[in-house]
Amino acid sequence: MFADGLFIGFAILSVLGAVGLVLFRHPMNGAMSFVVTLISLAGLYALLSAKLIFALQLIVYAGAIMSLIVFIIMFLNIQPSDLPKEETKLFYILGGGIVVLPIGLFLAKIVKSMPERSTEIIGNNFGGVKEVGLLLFRDWLVPFEIVSILLLVSLVGAVILAGKRGTIK
């Protein structure tokens, strides 16, 4: 089926992008492969008929947050000599994989115990802007306002931290 093929393609792309993020030495290469992951995740959201989140993932994540990260990486003008020497990187990745593997297998066992359901694309305006907006401003109004306070606090904090004159001691 067409949607299954799309899912396999997007899944392979997202895992490859994540592996590239973990393995690349220079953060710019890692950021570029992470963009691939984010865009293929947007495709998966579209397959799960989440139309608004699909658009938000492309605009906010792949557009705004990643361009901010790439801008900062270019702003710091990182030379290959500035990067930390990671001769034992592969050993650490192997050890980290061994540590994380039981957690992943445990989560996979939980998933296996759940009933299998189909995820065909449904119409009925599921995940559209109007429906999600109504839900957001009816049932989730207080968390929404708290998120606005969080953004304000992080804005003030970022300005105070990055705009500091002189050196810290």
Binding site: P27, G30, T37, I53, E86, V111, T119, W140, A162
Partner: protein, 98 residues
């Protein structure tokens, strides 16, 4: 089909943990945290599709807002540390060690 989405979410989350604990570059660690947030988002949206309720979409939007706030603050801290030490190695930043 829902199982495949959840397995993919688990794989991405574990790759994020491996990136955080095995790399020493500040930017790579930061982007691995973003990867873990995205894996959680994928699980939210998949469960939201299964139960045909849109609460998961709202939660995914909240996670995106938290990620944006985190990006702004973390990048400000990285700029400050780079100005102070001109290195990107997480082992160098040991001011609190005493």
């Amino acid at each position: 089909m829902i199982h495949s989405y959840l397995y993919l979410s688990i794989i991405l989350f574990c790759l994020g943990i491996v990136g955080v604990i095995s790399r020493r570059n500040v930017f790579t660690v930061f982007m691995s945290i973003e990867l873990m947030l995205n894996a959680a988002n994928l699980a939210f949206i998949a469960f939201s599709r299964v139960h045909e309720s849109m609460d998961g979409h709202v939660l995914a939007m909240m996670v995106m807002a938290v990620a944006a706030a985190e990006a702004a603050l973390a990048l400000a801290v990285v700029i400050l540390l780079h100005k102070h030490k001109s290195k990107l190695d997480t082992n160098v930043f040991s001011l609190l060690k005493g």
